[in-house]
Amino acid sequence: MEDTAVRRPERSFKLLLQLFATTFKLGLFTFGGGYAIVPLLQKDFVENKKWIDSAEMVDIVALSQAAPGAIAVNASVFIGYRLAGVPGALFSALGSALPSLILLYFITLVYKEFAANKYVAGALRGIRAGVAALMIQAVYKLGKPALKDLFGWIFAFICFAVVLFTDINAVFVILGGGLIGWLYSLITGKLKKPSGDKKGGAEE
């Protein structure tokens, strides 16, 4: 699927409300663990609204995973900030937190009945199967823009094996990946500095 160019929305109060509404809606349907929000973010912000491009989305997910806290909240804050500064971040954070707050409050009051309810059990069994399908599609959708060369592919498989067969915490996988990526760039000469260039400055 071809990504057309992103068009950043105009900053306005309406945008803040949209950010709130979108993150709220996504929060209601994130079943099955932190990463389950990734395909929802991809569909809404990248494909439908085209406010974020898929390459950026990979980076957003990476940073959201590496930072402490829920991926969903972190990603919402980042996207909100990207599109509408601090107000955007706050509206998005609120949107991502409210579904849990509201739903869980009511469910907690009747949680024993909720846990034993056969309709809930049946629905969940179906939903979890659906989410598995969603996740594999997400791997493809994010993998395509993220893995652009042989190094990317090979390294992704190595990381996958590491995660599958060891107990290494995800954050260390990400930080380790970053280090290895930097070293690889160093070794392959991508970091050669022309004279007068300084590390840490923004470059075009």
Partner: protein, 188 residues
């Protein structure tokens, strides 16, 4: 210290110090809730079970559950906001830094390694989800323990996502309805 402030700060601490995903915070939640005499061990186990049956991030769900049990509506609000606050602060700093420096070649070099790692983590999340949803629990992973109806639902979901371009949220709703019909009503 007033209870609500204590709740807020406790969940702030839990949210700030949990690295690597929701379930990593279970020991911390246990230590804080039980250590402060706010919840019993069984209730903490219940948090985990309930949080897996509800949408939303585990950490938020756990915070709301605990806050509700401890101090009703104000408790729920304060705990949830507490666990979310560190995310907001830290991600704002990260976002600001990133947006200023993302074109820097060192940042790009680091990202070139992080991107494959993220795809790998997503892949492993898929494996987790598939193994827990497509196999009957407690029977190990083998051909005998495959939940074939769920495999069918997953296949149909995949087809609808890829070929019908069904929105994920609609797919989730549909999967839930199918689940209720097949498992609850028809008892399959």
């Amino acid at each position: 210290m007033p209870l609500l402030l204590d709740l807020y700060l406790t969940f702030f601490k839990i949210g700030a110090f949990t690295i690597g995903g929701g379930y990593a915070m279970i020991p911390l939640i246990q230590a804080e809730m039980i250590g402060r005499g706010w919840m019993a061990a069984q209730e903490v186990t219940d948090i985990v079970a309930i949080s897996q049956m509800t949408p939303g991030p585990f950490s938020l769900n756990a915070a709301t559950f605990a806050g509700t049990q401890i101090a009703g509506i104000p408790g729920a609000i304060v705990s949830t906001f507490g666990i979310v606050t560190p995310s907001v602060i830290i991600m704002l700093l990260i976002a600001k830094f990133f947006l200023n420096f993302q074109h820097n070649k060192h940042v790009q070099a680091v990202l070139s390694g992080i991107r494959p790692a993220v795809v790998a983590l997503l892949g492993s999340a898929f494996i987790s989800m598939a193994s827990s949803s497509l196999f009957f629990s407690g029977m190990g992973i083998s051909l005998a323990s495959v939940d074939w109806i769920c495999v069918g639902i997953a296949a149909a979901a995949f087809a609808s996502l890829v070929w019908l371009k069904l929105h994920p949220i609609l797919m989730i709703l549909a999967s839930g309805v199918v689940g209720v019909v097949l498992f609850t009503l028809l008892g399959l």
